[in-house]
């Protein structure tokens, strides 16, 4: 196992790449190249074909036509093994980690051991520490992956690629799940890697990150190449226009809040997390009608558990939750839904939709047992189809038909459908967890407008997000959570990025 002996790749070219899926032309003659020492950003709306292009580079799909050329040599990747062998590493949009294994085991997976058939996890751990040191990727090699925060999991992904001596690293939306601080740390790592002569491909929906990090940027739209540009010559507005094909407003017009009665009240809530320790500690918060309360925090500080308690998926160990004056501390999801709460889940593919159900069937997930969708348990498909068509039209969901399995839709469109489904129920309280994670700017903007519409209509919204920009753009008040505790609640108008950052790092609000 001599990974450093391999000569690092200098230049990779993808030429005239065409890739079809049933009913979709995902890549339509795309040309793309990346060089050692450069960060090349790849931009495009949801479903533009970015991941598909990269998956071909990593041997996961075979192009229908077109060529991959490394340092002048045409290469055919039959499988990721070939790509790894050629020095390509990839951090996937959805992490490729075996959650029941330790960090070291995940890294060692598939590699030969110095001890023959026996695992040499201690040596692997040692090398992991070495790499971690060099690139600032702090992680405990003996930790089991499911216990790690999202940010830590991502570091494991990067370590996996570095460990295999990758000289080209593809990062598919690496920051979608990171806090600004974590993203900053990642950028330090990535710059270090580029300086070391690595070639990096960086996919993100966050334009400021692209502007801050990349040397060149390539934009895709509907599977086609729009163009490749030196980043230095581009502005945020330019990029948005190239991606979406129209001007994108990046600010929201928000009249002052006129909070009404208390809709959601959380009192001294405690909950135990998956790791068996308290994840939410003595947490109290009130959300009133007609306001958006943002909950900011670094990922893994109890937001997920809090959202699970509020939606009835997790039993709190102490405390009380009141919804519209009713005690719902131990209520089931169904009871909360009946009481007027709706929720936008953090993990849309796992908890938001049933991917083998059609769009239509997903559209009635919470409401299927109510009129007019069913009557005495018999479903009324006429009504359901009409309703779904309305949602699709109102929320501009891009789908071939209402009968299409929802898994064939892009992430942004799935998110729009979830939003449409939840908001049309005219909720009195919305729990929105990471509502625009991984969603392109066009769709994000759209979703934000919809949430603000709800605010205007008098709904109480708890917005849980790790995207501080999003929090600041939408919230009236901002609460910060750290290690399961409330660090304070501040007025959004007066809060500064610095004061929020301090609270997110564990400093209690002083005022």
């Amino acid at each position: 196992m001599n990974t450093s002996a391999r000569t690092p790749l200098r230049e990779l070219k993808m030429v005239d790449i065409v890739k079809r899926f049933p009913g979709v032309l995902a890549n339509d003659g795309v040309n793309f190249d990346v060089r050692a020492g450069e960060v090349h950003a790849l931009l495009g709306e949801n479903g533009a074909g970015k991941s598909t292009l990269m998956r071909q580079l990593y041997g996961l799909y075979k192009p229908d036509s077109g060529q991959i050329i490394i340092d002048g040599q045409p290469r055919v990747f039959q499988s990721p093994a070939d790509a790894i062998h050629a020095g390509v590493g990839m951090i996937h949009q959805h992490f490729m980690l075996v959650s029941s294994l330790t960090v070291a085991e995940n890294v060692a997976l598939g590699l030969a051991s110095t001890r023959g058939p026996r695992l040499d996890l201690d040596r692997v751990a040692e090398r992991i520490r070495g790499l971690a040191e060099r690139y600032g990727l702090k992680v405990d090699p003996s930790a089991v992956v499911w216990q790690l925060s999202v940010g830590e999991q991502q570091r494991v992904e990067i370590l996996k690629a570095l460990y295999r001596g990758a000289s080209l690293l593809v990062l598919d939306e690496p920051t979608a799940v990171l806090t600004p601080q974590e993203a900053q740390e990642l950028f330090v790592t990535l710059r270090q890697m580029a300086d070391d002569g690595h070639a990096l491909i960086f996919i993100s929906h966050k334009l400021h990150e692209v502007l801050a990090l990349s040397h060149r940027v390539t934009v895709l739209r509907d599977g086609r190449l729009v163009g490749t540009y030196p980043t230095a010559e581009m502005t945020r507005a330019d990029l948005a226009r190239l991606m979406v094909g129209r001007e994108v407003l990046l600010q929201y017009d928000r009249p002052p809040a006129q909070p009404g009665e208390t809709r959601l009240q959380i009192d001294g809530l405690w909950a135990i997390g998956d790791r068996g320790v308290d994840a939410v500690r003595d947490f109290s918060l009130t959300v009133r009608a007609g306001e958006v309360v943002g909950l900011a925090g670094v990922s893994g500080n109890g937001q997920r558990e809090l959202a699970e308690v509020l939606t009835g998926l997790r039993q709190p160990s102490r405390g009380k939750v009141t919804l519209n004056g009713r005690d719902v501390t131990h209520a089931s999801p169904a009871e909360r839904i009946a009481a007027g709460q709706c929720a936008i889940p953090e993990e849309r593919m796992r908890t938001g939709v049933i991917k083998d159900f059609s769009v239509l069937e997903n559209a009635i997930l919470c409401d299927h047992s109510h009129r007019p969708f069913s009557r005495n348990t018999v479903l009324n498909f006429g009504e359901i189809a009409a309703h779904t068509r309305r949602l699709i039209a109102d929320y501009a969901v891009k789908t071939p038909t209402a009968e299409t399995p929802i898994k064939n839709l892009s992430g942004g469109n799935i998110q729009k459908l979830i939003l449409a489904r939840e908001l049309c129920r005219k909720p009195t309280v919305i729990i929105a967890a990471q509502p625009t994670r991984g969603v392109d700017i066009g769709a994000s903007e759209y979703i934000h407008h919809r949430l603000l519409e709800q605010r205007a209509a008098g709904t109480a919204t708890l917005l849980i997000s790790e995207d501080l920009d999003e929090i600041r753009a939408l919230s009236d008040r901002i609460a910060v959570i750290f290690e399961g505790r409330l660090m304070g609640v501040v007025d959004a108008a007066t809060a500064t990025a610095e004061s929020l950052g301090l609270m997110m790092a564990g400093t209690r609000q002083t005022e």
Partner: protein, 368 residues
């Protein structure tokens, strides 16, 4: 807007078409797989000194080519269809029910007991016996269901165990409390119940055959299950729980309750199959009544792509294979074992061919 709508409708029409074509071809491939398996069987037949042409023509004739053969195929298909419906519901609910055999036996026991011991007149007795069968099977499905929901006991394990328990329970009841008093009197002690009162029998549909009203009941049930799964909120919930329990829970569906319901309904249909065998065919409970339908029903269900309506032709096809196989054994006098081995090959080839089919359909779709 109008352009968008027309694109949508055109795409819809196209995908519906593709789906129909796929379904049509999908029916041909299993047939081809059966043919390949039978060709291998032909080689073995020659090796055993039997005439393969005679063997297969008698098989075909025995299963589909004569009134007596075809009615027998339908008689066999009936419990397969019913058990298969139960398997289908359970599977759709994300639980694997291997317990059809035990549920069928318990259903048959319960139906016999009701017919023997309930003092009901006329058709009421038949009705009561059918309901008892359903309840018996449901009970046998509820045990693994409750164990899974309450204690997380894997249902594959518990249903396999419950099968053995049911067999021993039947042994016990049929040689003890439920034994035909005449057998005790005569000293022969055959392990069977007394003959059920004629009021409880299902009507025979064709004279001089065993075809009985249970077959019609099974067909009605297939349509009913289709309706249940795709036209009611209960079926919607069962399917949601089966496909994504996390999302179902998030949407307010009590997941465990529906997993349990899926197992109970699975048991209920197997129990109904047992009742129908007793009331339609044997007219008494006896050892060996199940005929292995509890397992064959799983195969039939998967042949039918776990779809209640697909299950109708699938159970007739599989029933025909069983009946035709036996006929072939009789006509060319090869060991029964050959038929069993052939059946195994057919099953392997048919499931194997499914993938080839799906692959081709996907390719066709992406290149249209």
């Amino acid at each position: 807007m109008s352009e968008a709508t027309s694109v949508v409708t055109r795409a819809a029409a196209r995908s519906a078409w593709a789906r129909r074509l796929q379904g049509w071809q999908g029916a041909l491939v299993p047939v081809a797989a059966v043919v390949v398996a039978l060709m291998i069987g032909a080689v073995v037949l020659v090796g055993l000194g039997a005439d393969p042409v005679k063997a297969y023509s008698s098989m075909l004739e025995g299963a589909f080519g004569s009134v007596s053969g075809f009615t027998q195929t339908l008689v066999t298909a009936t419990p397969l269809l019913l058990v298969g419906l139960g398997v289908t519901i359970a599977f759709r609910g994300g639980v694997i029910n291997i317990g059809g055999e035990g549920q069928l036996i318990v259903g048959a026991l319960a139906a016999s007991a009701a017919a023997l011991y309930l003092p009901l007149p006329g058709v009421l007795l038949l009705l009561a016996a059918l309901i008892a069968g359903v309840l018996g099977g449901a009970l046998w499905g509820a045990v693994p269901g409750a164990l899974k929901a309450q204690l997380g006991v894997n249902e594959i394990l518990s249903t396999i165990m419950m099968n053995q328990i049911a067999i021993q329970l039947a042994n016990y009841l049929l040689r003890g409390p439920m034994i035909d008093p005449k057998e005790v009197e005569a000293g022969t002690r055959i392990a069977q119940s007394a003959l059920l009162p004629a009021d409880s029998w299902l009507v025979r549909l064709v004279p001089r055959t065993l075809l009985h009203g249970g077959s019609i009941l099974a067909l009605v049930m297939a349509v009913a299950v289709f309706f249940l799964l795709w036209r009611t909120t209960v079926g919607y919930r069962i399917r949601a729980v089966g496909l994504n329990p996390d999302a179902a829970r998030y949407a307010g569906i009590p997941v465990k309750r529906y997993q349990m319901l899926a197992l109970i309904l699975g048991g209920a249909f197997a129990g109904l199959a047992g009742a129908v065998e007793v009331l339609g065919v044997q007219h008494r409970m006896l050892e060996g009544l199940s005929g292995g339908y509890g397992f064959s029903g799983i195969v039939a269900a998967l042949f039918g792509k776990l779809h209640p309506l697909g299950l109708i032709p699938a159970s007739v096809l599989f029933g025909g294979l069983l009946v035709g196989g036996d006929k072939m054994q009789r006509s060319v006098q090869v060991p029964d074992a050959l038929i069993v081995a052939l059946l195994g090959l057919v099953v392997l080839f048919v499931v194997g061919s499914d993938y080839i089919m799906r692959k081709r359909a996907a390719k066709a779709q992406s290149h249209e």
